[in-house]
């Protein structure tokens, strides 16, 4: 479980996050939604430590990530897997080397054990015969799958997905969504998905946090999102519904 407590984040005079508090649950698909520029990406970056919070705290199973020193933070980071919007695969390494990378850096596995783990991760994301391909030779959907495979290589406790469906066709988007949901349940991890794809939210949203103008505006599940009575959330969903009519 991850708890975000009274988080503020400013860039100069511009306040981006304003007293955001939220809880992200284990074994659930936790969504952060909001329009572009609402602060959802900044919130995710603060949670993984790519940005420092101005005030407030972020707790990983009661360990205060925001106030730990570099080495202690590093230990928590080893429990984090992240799927980036642009996948962030190392383009000078093959698919196999990309997935092997975190295992090589943080485990004492032998070369054969590492290869076995890489093949397991690839199999888990339904990819085969791509071990020796470079990321540039993969399609967008395949890159996302390799990104997921790398993120789960070290059995993370927390999986962060930044816009997992961006740049993908609707069919591939659903496949990626399904994969993330399966992995969340199978490995019982805390998954946090940052998206504005409402189809994903309606399908998988066990816990949804709506960010509006830097504030947490609403929190609930996919069952009660349509009856939230929240005007800004309603407008956000309406825009999505109109686009997808």
């Amino acid at each position: 479980m991850i708890e975000v407590k009274n988080v503020y984040k400013s860039f100069g005079d511009k306040k981006v996050l304003d007293d955001v508090s939220a809880t992200f649950y284990k074994g659930k698909s936790n969504f952060i939604i909001g329009s572009s520029g609402s602060g959802k990406s900044v919130l995710m970056k603060c949670m993984v430590g790519l940005e420092q919070v101005t005030d407030g705290s972020i707790l990983y199973e009661n360990r205060d990530f925001t106030h730990l020193d570099y080495n202690a933070k590093k230990e928590i980071r080893k429990e984090i897997g992240m799927l980036f919007q642009g996948t962030a695969l190392f383009d000078s390494l093959t698919v196999e080397q990309n997935i092997e990378f975190p295992i090589k850096m943080f485990s004492k596995m032998t070369s054969a054990e590492r290869l076995e783990r890489v093949n397991f991760c690839l199999q888990r994301v339904n990819l085969s015969n791509v071990n020796h391909l470079f990321p540039s030779a993969l399609s967008g959907g395949m890159k996302k799958r390799v990104g997921i495979a790398r993120a789960i290589a070290l059995n993370p406790q927390y999986l962060f997905c930044d816009e997992p469906n961006s740049g993908l066709d609707p069919l591939t988007s659903r496949v990626i969504d399904e994969l993330i949901r399966e992995i969340t349940i199978e490995f019982n991890i805390t998954t946090i998905i940052n998206t504005h794809d409402m189809k994903s939210v309606f399908d998988m949203g066990d816990n949804i946090i709506f960010i509006w103008q830097g504030k947490k505006w609403w929190q609930g599940t996919r069952k009660d999102i349509r009856s939230s009575g929240n005007k800004e959330l309603y407008d956000f969903m309406k825009a999505y519904d109109i686009e997808n009519m």
Partner: protein, 245 residues
């Protein structure tokens, strides 16, 4: 003020490089890869430059020494001393600043804008230590080796040009070169090479590491890396000459 801001950031960047690598064998592997890339990859250009610089220096020195009162062997003295003291280390490193510097800045800059550095950080890896330190150490080891090769080839170029143009025979050239040889000159040349290697690799890596934006900014970082490295090489060349000669 901007100068002090960037200088302070550069110092902090250098300080951040020095931490224990996650896996020493991975670090060693990366360092050898970099040594191959920087060293072996630059032999061709170093050969061409050194031979021609040595040849031109011989012809121009002969052109200026028209007096019959000066022994022709002095050409060998001037060419070998200027090659060791200035031409091999400085000219070669200025060219390497263009070749290696732009390559390092664009490689790291691209990794920054495509979130590959963020991916390393999230995995709990000190990205500067992992990406930059092997490059700096590799540069400081192989660039002095390249300079030694450049000295040898520069003097050889001078000998060949002297013989082919009928300026002076090989024996006369060698008599002048040997007569004035001091071991300290080679030490001074290597000191310069180590200093210039540190400047090229660290300044270029710094420029790449703090690239924000996209392709345009990567190009700008690459240009800045070459320009700043070249200026700093010339500045430190003067400082070293004042201090050591």
């Amino acid at each position: 003020m901007s100068f002090f801001y960037h200088f302070g950031r550069y110092i902090l960047f250098i300080r951040g490089l020095f931490s224990k690598p996650e896996k020493f064998w991975v670090f060693k592997e990366r360092m050898f890869q970099e040594m191959q890339s920087i060293g072996v990859g630059s032999i061709g250009i170093v050969t061409i430059i050194s031979v021609f610089v040595g040849a031109v220096t011989t012809v121009q020195t002969a052109y200026q020494l028209v007096s019959g009162l000066v022994a022709k062997s002095i050409i060998g003295t001037i060419v070998s001393d200027s090659t060791m003291l200035e031409l091999a280390p400085t000219i070669t490193c200025l060219v390497l600043a263009g070749k290696i510097g732009s390559s390092i800045a664009s490689e790291i800059g691209t990794m920054r804008v495509t979130e590959q550095i963020d991916a390393l950080e999230i995995m709990g890896i000190n990205s500067a230590n992992y990406l930059v330190l092997p490059k700096i150490l590799a540069g400081m080891i192989v660039i002095p080796m390249l300079i030694i090769i450049a000295i040898f080839l520069g003097i050889s170029g001078g000998i060949i040009a002297g013989k082919m143009a009928g300026i002076l025979p090989v024996e006369e050239f060698m008599k002048g070169a040997r007569g004035s040889f001091k071991g300290f000159t080679v030490f001074f040349s290597c000191t310069k090479a180590v200093t210039f290697a540190f400047i090229i690799t660290s300044v270029s890596a710094f420029q790449g590491f703090y690239t924000y934006g996209g392709a345009l900014e990567v190009g700008q970082s690459s240009t800045k890396a070459v320009v700043y490295s070249a200026v700093l090489i010339l500045f430190s060349d003067y400082i070293l000459a004042q201090l050591l000669l």
